[in-house]
């Protein structure tokens, strides 16, 4: 049996998630190559492909109308599409601009009229195409992506957590940010990262987005009562990685 063909594609993003894919270390990566054939991977190889693909991993947001056709073309020749990284799954940090109007001038200055910068609101790629699986995070947890690939190679649906980051903080006995006078978004943020940020003494910013049913009313209340946020700041706090989810809620 020939090895499944895997390709990495990028849209509006920093390509940091693609870089993260090169960080497995030689041994696991070479072992993985025994089971898959990588046919396109801009950050690591020159070759590209127009052939059918078994698994397409798409990074980056949909934010330019011009990208629609390319996304649809990838979907057409891919058996499985995985959106990986927060830009591709929910719009990620790019979606911060969705509630601003003057961002182009601020970011690009005199270059802001260049045609390839003609962007609109930023969305996850499922705004345009059907996505089969989501690997959340900014950046992705490379071990989770690996686990998703291994599951798919065995024909098994990947397991993506739908519980908050608090679960993972407590499992590793991290001192709660609120107990140290800080704020945190872990109570509404989707786990699966292993909660490295609070363990390092910084708040969770929900870079994997929200759990399926986040209690946002209680979240705002806790930010005000325990972290001293103003109600307005509490209401907007969720925007960093979850602007589209907040807009929809």
């Amino acid at each position: 049996m020939s090895k499944p063909k895997v390709a990495f594609f990028d849209f509006a993003c920093c390509e940091g998630c693609q870089i993260e894919m090169t960080n497995y270390g030689a041994e696991p990566f070479l072992e993985l190559l025994k089971h898959v054939e990588i046919v396109e991977f801009r950050e690591a190889m020159t070759e590209t492909t127009t052939e059918p693909i078994d698994i397409a991993l798409i990074e980056g947001s949909f934010t330019r109308e011009a990208d629609r056709a390319r996304l649809m073309e990838i979907r057409k020749r891919a058996k499985i599409v995985i959106a990986y990284g927060q830009c591709a799954t929910t719009g990620g940090i790019n979606a911060l601009k969705n509630h601003q109007t003057d961002y182009k001038q601020f970011v690009y200055g005199t270059d802001s009229d260049l045609p390839h910068l003609d962007s609109k609101k930023a969305y996850g790629v499922d705004h345009v195409i059907k996505v089969d699986y989501y690997a959340y995070g900014c950046p992705v947890n490379k071990y989770e992506v690996l686990q998703i690939l291994l599951h798919l190679l065995h024909g098994k649906e990947p397991v993506i957590p739908n519980y908050p980051v608090c679960v993972e903080c407590k499992r590793r006995e991290t001192v709660c940010r609120f107990d140290e006078g800080d704020y945190c978004m872990g109570m509404v943020a989707r786990a699966g990262c292993g909660a490295p940020c609070p363990a390092a003494g910084i708040p969770c910013e929900a870079c994997r987005g929200f759990v399926d049913d986040p209690n946002l009313a209680a979240f705002e209340k806790v930010l005000v009562e325990r972290a001293g946020f103003t109600p307005q700041r509490a209401a907007e706090k969720g925007r960093m990685f979850t602007a589209n989810a907040l807009e929809a809620s």
Partner: protein, 280 residues
Amino acid sequence: MEHQCHWNEVANIFLPREATIVQAVQATPTEKHFTLKMSDGQPMEFEPGQIVELGLLGYGEIPIGFASSPTRTESFDLVVRSVGRVSGAVCKLEEGDTVNVRGPLGHGFDLDKLRGRDVLVVAGGIGLCPTRSLIQYILDRRDEFERFVLFYGSREPCLQLFGDDLACWRGMQEMEYHETVDNADPSWTGNVGVITTLFPKVQLSPETRAVICGPPIFYRFVIRELDAIGIPRENVFVDLERRMKCGVGKCGHCQINDKYVCVDGPVFSFADVQDLEEAF
């Protein structure tokens, strides 16, 4: 409390045994009927109504009720509905493939309470699978039981399980078999309607022991019929379904109030669970 160090003398309850698929039949579009033998040649000794954790390494385990009678020692049957990671992978298996099993587990039908009595089995949909174990048992030891009535309801004719069995049961003297479908197709000439429409067809004694297994909504309606006949609730046995994970009463997922379905059940006397708010 003094601990006797004997952990290394006790079998690991999570270590499975291997079984080989000797027959695999796609029973309905989503359900596959497997006949299995333990790979080491040992018989699987169980009671009707008990469950087994059916597993595939790398995929996980699912609890499945035995669908054949322990009186048929040659092999045992499991019917798997493809709904998730494990069941989906299992349903791709064919004759000659192997699976892992842990069991038998749980508390089955209390046969002593059924022996010497009239028995009514009411099965809905996939609920026929675990009850088939009891049905076969009664048929194999027919003289141990009195009158035997079976009601079987399906949504549609094409979703009926165990077609060969049904063909056999329809004409059988040893049991009174009645079936219904919620929605008929042109081929169907039998009763159309929900399960309760079968009750007027037979006169049942209040001394009857009743066994119910079906989807959650099913129980309330069937119980109402049994109440009307005057069958005391301690003589009604229900086979319940929850998210059983470990199968050994530890992991907590299958709890109905304070009961663990996997070890306290899955078969309960209705009298024991009727007051549990989370049961029905």
